[in-house]
């Protein structure tokens, strides 16, 4: 009896410490995230009257949004941007990771170089690429002997942004995949060599299944990042860019609607839609993973 009471006193003390230690984080999350999340949901059903005052207008913002061509264009641009960046980016990153996994010298040096864009502010990176892509004097056109208006031509603008995005993320993805590759035991490949399996067969039957969990987490991360693309487009496009509508992503449209046009109700509807879309894409990936991701290694 006595002992039980003592234990429960200790347990109560532990509980108090637990609450005290999580308090700053939980209060912070409630104030900074939970409540704002609810507010954004609510604001998406409201008209912004200015100075943070809102009037409930039902689903009017959503009706306006779904009837707006610019919005659908931005949705497509976001999806298209993912199609452009995710498969190519991950394939190239895997290729780099495989090369870095070979017995080579200066491995650390290469890794440092490929990783470099990650520590550079996207704003600065985008600025450099604006110059490289410049239609009149950009070095890329000079090297190609071409006359492509990369950033202002509606056909190429989003491709230009995608190239910068892939260039920026390759090193990061490669480092993650390299960690996965290094965990594969050499004995699998030795056994396959003895069986006379070609390198290509080995790649598809050993490498891919063995790193599929890493590949999956890189895929999810890259998809989420691409769905949220904003800063590169903000830096590479201007309000006067004739290709603006053809390159703006949902998050860029959200920024322009909310903070340039000041229509925060409509902006909230856009961001709610984007989050819904990201959720849907993620769920599809998690369902699809059962077909190809191999966790029992």
């Amino acid at each position: 009896m006595n002992k039980g009471e003592k234990l429960s006193a200790a347990a109560r003390r532990e509980e108090n410490w637990g609450w005290i230690m999580i308090a700053p984080t939980i209060i912070g999350l409630a104030v900074l995230n939970l409540w704002p999340f609810v507010q954004t949901l609510y604001a998406s059903f409201c008209e912004h009257l200015g100075f943070g005052h809102y009037k409930f207008i039902g689903i009017q913002n959503y009706i306006t949004m779904f009837g707006n061509i610019e919005f659908w264009k931005a949705t497509w641009n976001t999806v298209f941007f993912c199609i452009l960046t995710v498969p190519v980016g991950i394939a190239l990153a895997l290729f780099v990771a495989i090369l870095l996994n070979a017995k080579i010298k200066f491995k650390g040096g290469f890794r440092t170089i490929f990783f470099l864009p990650l520590v550079c502010a996207p704003a600065a990176v985008a600025m450099v690429w604006r110059w490289i892509f410049n239609g009149e004097y950009g070095i890329l056109n000079q090297m190609l002997g071409a006359n492509i208006q990369w950033i202002t031509d509606p056909k190429t603008a989003i491709i230009a942004v995608a190239i910068v995005s892939i260039w920026s993320s390759i090193g990061y993805d490669a480092v993650l995949l390299l960690a996965g590759l290094q965990n594969i035991s050499k004995s699998y490949y030795e056994a396959a060599d003895i069986d006379g399996a070609s390198k290509v067969t080995q790649f598809f039957h050993i490498t891919i299944p063995m790193i599929s969990p890493t590949l999956f987490s890189v895929l999810i991360m890259r998809l989420m990042a691409s769905m949220k693309v904003y800063d590169l487009i903000y830096m590479m496009a201007d309000e006067t860019n004739p290709a603006l509508v053809d390159m703006q992503s949902l998050m860029y449209l959200f920024y322009r609607s909310s903070f340039v046009a000041g229509d925060r109700g409509y902006g909230s509807a856009i961001v709610v839609w984007t989050v819904f879309l990201i959720g849907a894409v993620t769920v599809i990936q998690f369902l699809g993973q059962k077909k190809w991701v191999n966790y029992d290694v």
């Binding site: 108090n16 912070g28 704002p36 999340f37 600065a124 903070f259």
Partner: protein, 280 residues
């Protein structure tokens, strides 16, 4: 015999190709930086020459002077440093406490409260931005360092990440300290926290790099040029010098330099820190 020789030869060819491709890749990764540095020292007519000249005729610093004249770089460095510093300190202090409690202590409501952390982690930060901005505005704190730090005061990701770290530390270590008369706080602060150095370093680098590159929040919340960060300040240059690329390159170089220097000094910690936090 012949087959081993040919095997040896094909292996050597593979090695050569591997190096060639890696070097080509490295050149593509490095080139934009080199081009930025070279352009930053050219005159405008020089930068527009066709065919282009590779090296500037002479090293001039005028572009850097112009960039500094139109952007208060001194302020931008200080603002960015303060924002990064406070975000890192808050993330480490609060996330360590919460991460330890979630991993090692028993208390009612633990699972529900941890679910809040997970939900926040999986939502894009943009969904919080409008109300966060309105809060800052209502407090009259727009255009302050506090505003820059505000959304980073707590870190759901940091909490999740450090919880993982504390779960990896044997509970017996804490219990031993507890039996020696430490209370829960002392056990955490004196015994457990010092064991998480690697993870704390990783979280520091991750938080710093992310805060440094963040663009939307500083643009929204601090519109005074004097209160901008390097990222948001740089973005105002493109309007002022839309075709003057030498000045834009000089400005970009000044904006990215501090983090690049830190990266070159702490390469291994950066790569392992960022990849180690993100890969989980």
């Amino acid at each position: 015999m012949k087959s081993t020789a040919s095997l040896e030869r094909s292996r050597r060819i593979t090695t050569i190709i591997t190096y060639a491709v890696l070097i080509l890749g490295a050149v593509i990764m490095i080139f934009p930086f080199v081009w930025m540095i070279l352009t930053s020292s050219k005159t405008v007519p020089e930068s527009m020459q066709i065919p282009p000249t590779i090296f500037p005729a002479q090293l001039i610093l005028d572009n850097f002077k112009d960039a500094i004249a139109s952007l208060p770089f001194g302020r931008l460095y200080i603002n960015t440093a303060l924002m990064v510093f406070w975000r890192v300190v808050c993330a480490i202090a609060f996330s360590s406490m919460a991460g330890y409690a979630f991993a090692k202590l028993h208390f009612r409501g633990k699972n529900l409260l941890f679910a809040i952390v997970l939900v926040q982690m999986s939502l894009p930060s943009q969904i919080f931005i409008i109300p966060q901005y309105q809060m800052v505005a209502k407090l009259g704190m727009a255009n302050t360092i506090f505003a820059l730090v505000f959304p980073g005061i707590v870190s759901a990701f940091g909490t999740f990440f450090l919880r993982q770290t504390y779960m990896g530390i044997p509970t017996e270590i804490g219990e031993a300290a507890f039996l020696d008369g430490c209370n829960q706080w002392q056990t955490f602060y004196k015994i457990m926290f010092p064991l998480t150095g690697t993870s704390v370093a990783a979280l520091t680098i991750f938080t710093a790099v992310f805060a440094y590159g963040d663009l939307m929040w500083p643009l929204v919340v601090n519109s005074d040029l004097d209160m901008m960060t390097l990222s948001s300040g740089l973005s105002t240059l493109k309007g002022q010098f839309s075709t003057n690329f030498p000045v834009l390159m000089a400005g970009s170089l000044l904006a990215m330099l501090p983090m690049v220097i830190l990266y070159l000094i702490f390469q291994r910690q950066f790569v392992e820190g960022i990849a180690g936090t993100g890969g989980k």
